[in-house]
Symmetry: C2
Subunit: 526 residues, 2 copies
């Protein structure tokens, strides 16, 4: 075995710099990254010493037979890592004191940290942390949060679960505390399938994969069906968490407008023809954020198009069992007779987010592939939550619990709509959701939701602005208020505070106090 001394200096590089770089055009690694990687290695290893001048972008592009933009991207990346710097009149130089071979100057810093890809803004834009901030916001006592789409604290089934644990944990032992199959506890898969059959969907246990939250399901399906650069269709607006997953995986997200009947399926075919997307994501029932239910005719037509263009549909249905009036709405999947629909739902809204149990229902070959991916990255979903949900189902406790939830959330919705009609200017339009957790609101004139949120912060009340739900750059005048989480006595007060903020904003607008800002912020109706 040949031994290299750690201290043995390596020879400096004298050949043309382009000879360092062998591009692999079929490797799947973008060319700019390959260039960047080779140069980074050469710089860090000392092959390219500090002060060495890199070729101009144009020259290197010519030598390598690539676009000039490709080289520019590579140089910019190296500059952002502190490895090179540009000097007027001198070109791009390898930096002095770069994170070099001997590392003497960087005793307490891991320089590879600087080379990491995808800081949050690059990956997701300014709303990156929104979801986690929303999740945490509910914990602050000093503000009224109308922002979080989470169940009410007093509707979490603590008593029910406490009894289940007390009566069953010692006996269950292994099935609650051990590893369990990737696909999920069989008793739970059976219980889920049985409930789905009652809702009109012909599935059995083998069509169910238990998930650690529906977000995991969106990610697994997207990873299986999309490659970077592939296109996925979503509603505008749509659930912001889904947009984040698709974007993080490098997919291009295409929006289809919605109206009061849900997705504008009449506009969908053009998109299917032009873009050949690989996935359609929809929340057809009590959509987050709009609360809209897609009409039966639209559903029929959506399935027809999906079949014709062989584009799978991911139906996300967290709120389907949270209806307030009339009949229980069926999942889209109930109308699908050709296996186009992957169906996603969760116990985070109907039981407790802390159990982290959700599921996907799909044709068996999909379940097999999804399970494989889940197994690699997650092994299995927590058994204790699965076992608890399975007990709830087997003991027949869910229906009574749901009846209680529906009554309470319907009441909360009524309180919120009543308060809006009492405290808000008549021009502000609001949805009247028949289920789910959210009211979708739209400002008029030139008022922006972002400005309203700033005003509302002074009033100690929070909601979610419309933009992160929009993939088309719209949503500036829209915002979402959720009635599920806040206590009854806080709903009217919260809505009143938002109304105060609206009036202050309107007053300031007429006084023309922020002319420049308003000028910048003005956007046309979408």
């Amino acid at each position: 075995m040949q031994q290299h001394s750690i201290h043995q200096p390596r020879p400096l590089f004298t050949a043309p710099i382009s000879s360092l770089i062998q591009l692999e055009r079929v490797s799947g690694v973008p060319l700019y990254r390959q260039i960047c990687q080779r140069l980074r290695e050469a710089i860090l290893s000392g092959e390219l010493a500090e002060g060495v001048r890199l070729p101009t972008e144009r020259a290197l592009a010519n030598e390598l037979g690539v676009n000039r933009t490709t080289v520019m991207n590579a140089y910019n990346q190296l500059a952002s890592e502190g490895l090179v710097e540009g000097h007027v009149g001198r070109g791009t130089l390898v930096r002095r004191n770069n994170l070099g071979y001997d590392g003497e100057n960087f005793d307490n810093v891991a320089s590879w940290l600087f080379g990491l890809p995808a800081g949050e803004r690059e990956l997701l834009g300014p709303d990156a942390h929104l979801l986690s901030e929303l999740a945490a916001m509910g914990e602050r006592r000093d503000i009224i949060s109308l922002a979080a789409g989470t169940p009410a604290r007093d509707l979490l089934p603590a008593e029910m679960l406490s009894t289940i644990f007390a009566e069953g944990l010692l006996k269950a032992r292994q099935s609650a505390l051990g590893y369990c199959p990737v696909e999920g506890l069989l008793s739970l898969r059976r219980g889920i399938a049985a409930r789905m059959r009652k809702r009109g969907v012909a599935v059995d246990a083998q069509h169910i994969l238990v998930l650690s939250g529906s977000t995991q399901g969106i990610g697994l399906a997207a990873r299986l069906l999309l490659s970077p650069g592939d296109e996925v269709v979503v509603e505008v607006p749509t659930y912001l968490g889904a947009i984040q997953v698709f974007r993080a995986l490098g997919a291009r997200v295409i929006g289809v407008p919605t109206d009061s009947d849900g997705m504008r399926v009449d506009l969908l075919e053009t998109i299917l023809v032009r873009h050949r997307p690989r996935l359609i994501y929809t929340q057809p029932t009590f959509q987050n954020p709009t609360g809209i239910v897609m009409s039966r005719e639209r559903r029929r037509r959506l399935l027809l198009l999906a079949k014709r263009y062989q584009t799978p549909i991911l139906e996300d249905d967290p709120y389907g069992e949270m209806y307030f009036e009339g009949k229980e709405p069926q999942p889209l999947m109930a109308m699908d007779h050709s296996g186009q629909v992957l169906y996603l739902s969760t116990y985070s809204k109907t039981l407790a987010p802390g159990l982290r149990v959700a599921w996907i229902a799909a044709p068996e070959p999909m379940i097999e592939r999804l399970s494989l991916h889940k197994q690699i990255f997650d092994l299995n979903t927590n058994a204790i939550g699965q076992w608890a949900v399975s007990e709830v189902l087997q003991q027949g406790l869910l229906d009574d619990h749901l009846t209680k939830l529906r009554r309470r959330y319907q009441h909360k919705r009524d309180l919120m709509l009543q308060a809006m009609s009492t405290h808000w200017p008549k021009e502000v339009r609001v949805s009247h959701p028949q289920g789910g957790f959210h009211v979708w609101c739209r400002l008029t004139g030139d008022m922006r939701a972002r400005s309203l949120l700033r005003e509302a912060a002074h009033e100690q009340v929070a909601f979610v602005i419309g933009e992160p739900f929009h993939v088309d750059g719209g949503g500036q005048q829209q915002f979402r208020l959720s009635f599920a989480y806040p206590e009854e006595q806080h709903i009217e007060e919260g809505v009143r505070r938002v109304g105060n903020a609206m009036r202050r904003l309107m007053a300031r607008r007429f006084q023309n106090e922020e002319p420049r800002k308003l000028g910048v912020e003005h956007v046309p109706m979408v």
Copy 2:
């Protein structure tokens, strides 16, 4: 809005087929996939009608200016999807009855299923489902499983957790059943950091990200630090779940040999110089599968190299607190003063796998980035498991539990080693682990572990063969026996059965019953 009728036929394609294909060389999508995608679209849409002859591989490669292999890969993929077929003397034709535009013949089949990437064999090779099979195997009563690396059923802390739920769940409510911050429950992060400080690692709550199992941590770190084609260094042998994650993400996995002092760090520098890997994965303490502890001198040198070559180390330490003799071993991270180490551990071995609670400790900028990725794909770890572990730590219950586990697992190890010495041929070599769950065994002569496993199956006993732990093609003579899960009275019996299988195998070898098979199976010692 222009409306396309669903039934309107689309014009057939008459221009040269290469004009269908616009390659985007900087898109990050491999060229063969781009070609494949465009042709697939054209075939499915009917633009390329059935029976149309595609250009020869050479001709299309010339027209597009790509490698012939690239076109060949694309055609093979289309053939595997049933969209084209080759005919001697006639070239490659678009297939009759392909999954065409009108779909009349495929009423109940979603044809996009055929176009899915990465079936399990492509993704992971023949051992793909091994981990989940291992997890499920423990449930079968008729066989003695020495395969699964899971805690013993009677050592799962069901009583402890039952008391915790009974006493605290109603009061905890939101923190156990609601959403919680992405980074984890603060009380748990504090508790974890405090325990790590006792083990010599200077971390605080902000350096801890709670995970839904350590597998998630391997995936998150790999996703952040590796791009497809990047290289990662692992020990040979190493934990097979880590290999699966790295391969699934498209990384190239490079093995460093190990000996009784752990990773051969003397061989590492060559790899660091030649390959410039982006990550080093190691289990320095009671490694799975070998049980080996890396020596202090090797640890020192590993950290030095990691710093010099600015290559982060992922230290996976599921068994560090499961020591049987002498002093508690410190994590590698305790010796790291320059932030090279990301540390991963879990409560799956020390408390219960079903809680699905693990963590990663790392410099704050890494925790921030890892949290962002976790948030996108998983929102947060199940709160109920986190809350339960946090209660165990706060009530000071873990140390007594660990003491009990160490005593019991040490006893089980002794039973296993004793049984091996009683029932096995003397030539079979076995490790004497000072901690962890596993004994690593090596056959001699030309006996293969895979043949032994087949024989053992007749004896109703299971273990894990060595190959999936090896990234270098080795491991044919090695296998892993785990002593943690089986009941005491089954350990000797299980080992005895494996011994029976060995003797049967040896007897058959001398009778020369399977000459061809043995010929094929023979491999040199590694």
